[in-house]
Structure formats: C-alpha cells, structure tokens
Symmetry: C2
Subunit: 381 residues, 2 copies
C-alpha cells in the first residue's frame, strides 16, 4: 500500500429541503457577499432559484449573479465571473447546478484571487495558493465536484479541456437534495452513471498496487450506480434510488478510491476531454464511447484486475465478459458506444489524438499514451 | 435514505516515516507549544519517542509531557492533563499511542478550554463549543479515534465508561505509519479486529433503513479486516496487510458507514462499556463476548440483514451460520467469547446490566434496552 495524504474538508448537507438553508451555511462561515453562479433558466422555472434567493435574503447575504454556464463549461464564462467577483468585492462563490457549474464556481474562486490569467493554473504555469471559498447546491450528481478540489474547464479559444486540483477549492459546504435531481433527463442520468463508473475504474485498472479495500469500494460504487440507474430509468421519482446514486457518485471521486493505490492514471478522461473539446460531446457520452475501446486495448496490461472486475460485477470468470457486458449496459441505458453515434468521422481520429496527447503531456503521462496509442484506442471505438 | 450531515476535516498522513514530520504538521497549523500525551514506556524503548521529540525540536515546538495513559483511559489522568495544559498555556494536544491515548488527548483538549469539570460533557451537562486542537501519531489501529470526534473515558470514581463526540475534537492531523504497529501483540491485534467489526455491525444490524452502499462498505471493511488479521497473525511484519488493516479500521468509524442510514444504535458498545468499567476488560475482548450473545438475542428483529450478513461474509443462506461463524472466528483469532473466559461470574450480570442501562439512559435508548433485556443478552454470553 502506497503512502498517501487523505484530506477532504467539504461538509456535505444531504437530504430534503436543505437548499433552503444555504443562506445559513454561508452565514455560519461569516460570508456576507457572494457570486451566485448557475446555468440555464431551468432553476428559475422549477422554483429552486427563488428558494436560494429567499434563503440568501433571510440571512442578509448580498449577491451578484452569473448565469449561462453550459455543460462543458467555458473559460470565457469563467473569466466573466472572475471580473464580476473582482469588481464587486465578492467573498465566496455559490454554484447552483451540476458539475459544470461547480467547476466554474471553483475556477472563478481561484481567478478572483489572482492577478494573471486563470488559465495559467490549468497549464501548470501557476500553483493555487489561495481562492475564494466555494459553496454548491447540486442539481445533478456525476462529477463529485461537490466533494473534491477538481475543476475542468474548456478554453474556447485553444480548444483545450484541462483541469486544476487543490483542496483550497473543495467546497466548504455542498447541499445534496436528491429531490432536486428528479427532473434530470434519462439521457443525462445515463451519462452521469457512465461518468461515475469511469471515475471508479480509471485507477482500479491502471494502478500497479490494488489494496483489497479500494477494489471493494470501487465495486460497491459500481454495483450501486448500476442498480440505482436501472431503478431511476423506470421511475425517476424514486427518492431512495436517487439519493443512493448521488452519495455513491460522490464517493467515486472524493479521494477515497485511490488512497493507497500506486501508479494509476486517467487515460479515459484524457481521451474523452478531446472529444468534448473538439466536438462538444457531453462528458459522459464521450466516456461511454472511450471506455470499452480503452478496456479492450488495455486489458492485457492488468489481466488479473480485469478478471476480478468480470467476476465481481458480472459474475464471470472471463475477463472479456466484463468488458462486453459493461459496453452492453452502457448501450442498454441509452449511452452511445461508438464514435459514429457521436457523429465523429473516423478521419478526425488523428486530430483527437493530437489534442488528447497534449493533455497527456500536461498530466505527465505522455510517454504512456503517445499519439499512436490514442489512435489505436479510438480506432476500436 | 435518511437526511445527514457528513463532515470529517481530519487530515490523514499515511505511510512510512511520516511520524518524523509531526513537527512540521504542527508548525503548518501555527502551533508552538503542545502537551505530548502517551502511554507506557514502550515508545521510549522502540525509538518512537525520540523521533517525535526530534521532530518537535527541529520545528521549534515547545512541549510538556503526560505519560501513563492506560487502556480504558481514566478520567483522573485526563484531569492531570487538563491541569498541565491550563498551567502551561498549551496550544494543542499531541497523542502518541492507540485509541486510549487519542481519546485522552481529545478529552484534555476539551477540558483545557472549560472552567468546570470535564465530566460534565460526558453526562450531557455541558455541550462542547471549543477545544484545543488535537493531533495524533497512532501505534495501534482499532477505534478510528484518529479520524473521528469521539472520546471514551472511564470515570474511575463512579465506574462509568462514557463518551463525548464533537467535530471540534476530530484530530487536525493524524499520522498512520503501519510500521509503528508491527509490534502490537497478537492478543491486541485480535481485540482490535473485533473492535473494528463491532463498529461496522452496530448500525448495520440496528438501522431501520439500509442503503445498498452502506451495507457494501461495511461488508468491504469486515472482509478486509478478517483477511488482513489472519495474515498478520501469521506474519506481523506484513506491511501491506498492516496498512490495509489500519485504513479499513479508520473507515469503520469515521462517519462513512452510518451516513444516510436511519435508526441505528450501539448496543454492543453500551453493554461492553459496563464490562470495561467494572472489570477493566480490554474493550475488544469485552466486545467479542457481547457481540455473539447480542446477535443471537437480536436477530429476529432484522432477519433480512442477518441473512445478508451470512451470505456476504460467510456465503451461507442461513442467518444462524453468520452468527456462529463470526463467533468461531473470534475464538480462532484468540478473542474470548464467554464471560467465563473473562473471569466474570454469572452472579455479577445484574451489576453489569445496571451499569449498562445507566449508559443507555445517557445515550437515549434506555427504552430499547431495559435492564431485563441486558440481562437476557449477557446470560447468552
């Protein structure tokens, strides 16, 4: 078991109606003025916006607003938020939405305390040493951004989907009310399920050391996500299934699954980021295409763990069955499993590989994933 | 799934040699003067004491010392520590040892900021609103005190083994170097294994709502503890097994397993505390006696979860097999499973029941466990 530091100071407020207390949570942290970040008008239609505003007003918290954050959040929008935060002496960022909103809130929090270009942090030109505190109210569970220090943003000029990570941007408080997620479309539920599974299996398959407990946690999350996704596709209003999905999703990327493993990389995310960056593919949809292809390409490098996966998740002794059944399950829940389904022509594979390989360089595993390997993987998709 | 708050701000520094950095960790928290709390002279013999002192000196951290904390830690010793802390303007408490030392450090941290009798907090006469920060370097893994806000202390005058809980006494930083645990006796390893399993199964069996993920986490911890205990009884120097045991033990009582469950109580701990308080039984030894008796007494109240336990842990469809095999496993690893083995005569069962029922009252489930029920349970032991 490898040496590690585990530190996750995010407070999770989980359950019905907790969004009505967001003003209290901010007040408890002595926050008096925030930037409220959200996506489209849906939170105005469903009443969530009003609840948030009421809670802020009740607790005398001033606010400015930034709306229009999109799935695959854009650097241009982040920069807009940074300017708003700087111009208005904002003391904290409150993201209300899904992973894109939370990620944008974090990037704004970092940029608001920095004189230079916030993209510097994404390309390792600068290290995060301070940030405005971030709070979230989640309306979608997938990225675990609500309980980690990660933020992924697309630079709309350079077409790079890059990330930052620091415990300084772990949300102080995240509100998870599963009821707020009941209106997520079946399509996005499926993409979310794929995203959670991807977080779990990246290190599970790529690490060189697999402590028993870590493998078991990953398998527990995957089984829970698969079971609850199937329930929710039938009945989106099943509160318990929604709640279990949300909590399992958080465990998938809050630091627990990799703690003590050795090695471990995020090749599927690296490759998928090029799909999102160049073709604006939804993250989970891109992952559903990349994962089975990558598994087929990679399996010989860690055959025992692929056998374990097959056995634990699909009760088969054949490592190929695990891959095949996962791919089938992605298709069954409505996720795409080929580039063709994403309308990405084969002749763009080289462009994708170049983009992904640039990110591999930033992440420090370009030797493991030269352009030629990424092409090999994408050709299986 | 129930509403919950999850908040665990302890930073875990896990791995070889990390004890040499304890001075740095304190310095990073701007701590300049500490009370060093430990047990017997063993840490002086094995060199750990010297390492700690060197690290403190290197980082210019002044210290006072309190030694002599015993297993089943005593209030009298805690009061000694509180006086030392108050008299010497101590800014943090550093516990170096096992759960008893960590628990004592926490109680001292609370008492040092309080004008009255620290026992007030244990009997719900006062609520914790502040405490000196606590740091730990662990030499034994069992209680998870290194990553929770619990402290259990015996009042040597009243013979009560009671507890406090507050996130304010979650350690700021806990150092877990599995190498420091290699000299734990086989007896204490067995008791530790029982203790971890007890933490897991209390809520697992007593909750009225069992989310899938929680049950799976509990089962993952139990399997990991059982496997690594068997390895360590054969080879105490197996680093990976020691490390996996330590990390799984932490997960057993850091807030993860009960999050979102409903109902849930700690009857085995409640009853065991009377054994420790009246007969100074090692906590894990007492639990090994209480647990199988309680399981036999309780199983009809949650038959489906007992069936699940049997299936997942011992691959049997018969709920009785799970109880029987767990009891046998306790015996196999060298833990006592009867009151007789603890030299507690049957005619003292009533005294134990009175003591345990007093604690049930403090914990608020005296109606679930009247004296008569506790007697019924102990008569099965």
């Amino acid at each position: 078991m490898n040496t590690f530091t585990y530190y996750n100071p995010t407070k999770i407020e989980f359950g019905k109606d907790k969004e009505n207390k967001i003003g209290e949570y901010l007040k408890q942290s002595n926050i008096k003025k925030i930037l409220l970040v959200y996506g489209a008008s849906s939170i105005k239609k469903n009443g969530l916006y009003e609840k948030i505003i009421n809670s802020l007003k009740k607790n005398n918290i001033e606010f400015k607003e930034l709306s229009g954050v999109v799935s695959n959040p854009l650097l241009s929008k982040v920069n807009e938020g940074i300017k708003l935060a700087k111009d208005n002496d904002i003391k904290a960022i409150l993201g209300v939405g899904g992973g894109s909103v939370a990620d944008s809130a974090k990037a704004i929090g970092v940029g608001a305390k920095y004189d230079g270009d916030v993209w510097d942090f994404f390309i390792n030109k600068a290290q995060i040493t301070e940030a405005l505190p971030v709070f979230t109210v989640m309306t979608l569970s997938a990225t675990a951004s609500e309980m980690n220090g990660n933020s992924v943003v697309i630079n709309d000029e350079t077409k790079q989907k890059y990330s930052i990570a620091s415990v300084l941007i772990n949300p102080k408080v995240s509100v998870i009310n599963p009821e707020l997620m009941a209106t997520v479309s079946k399509e996005y539920l499926a993409y979310s399920a794929v995203d959670v599974i991807s977080h779990c299996i990246e290190v599970y398959f790529t690490a060189s050391v697999h402590p028993r407990f870590n493998s078991r946690i990953v398998e527990s999350i995957i089984k829970t996500i698969m079971e609850t996704t199937e329930i929710l596709l039938e009945n989106p209003n099943d509160y318990d299934a929604r709640a279990e999905f949300a909590w399992a999703a958080i465990q998938g990327l809050n630091g627990l699954t990799p703690a003590g493993t050795e090695g471990g990389s995020f090749p599927n995310h690296m490759i998928e980021h090029s799909l999102s960056a160049l073709f604006n593919v939804a993250h989970g949809a891109g992952l559903a295409v990349v994962i089975p292809a990558w598994m087929k390409w990679y399996k010989e490098q860690n055959i025992s763990q692929f056998k374990r996966f097959s056995k634990e998740i699909f009760n088969s002794d054949d490592e190929n069955v695990g891959i095949e059944k996962l791919e089938n399950w992605f298709a069954k829940i409505g996720a795409p499993i080929t580039l063709a389904e994403l309308n990405i022509p084969k002749n763009r594979i080289e462009d994708l590989a170049i983009n992904a390989n640039e990110l591999a360089t930033v992440w420090g595993f370009d030797k493991l994933y030269p352009k030629s390997s990424i092409i090999e993987i994408l050709e299986k998709a």
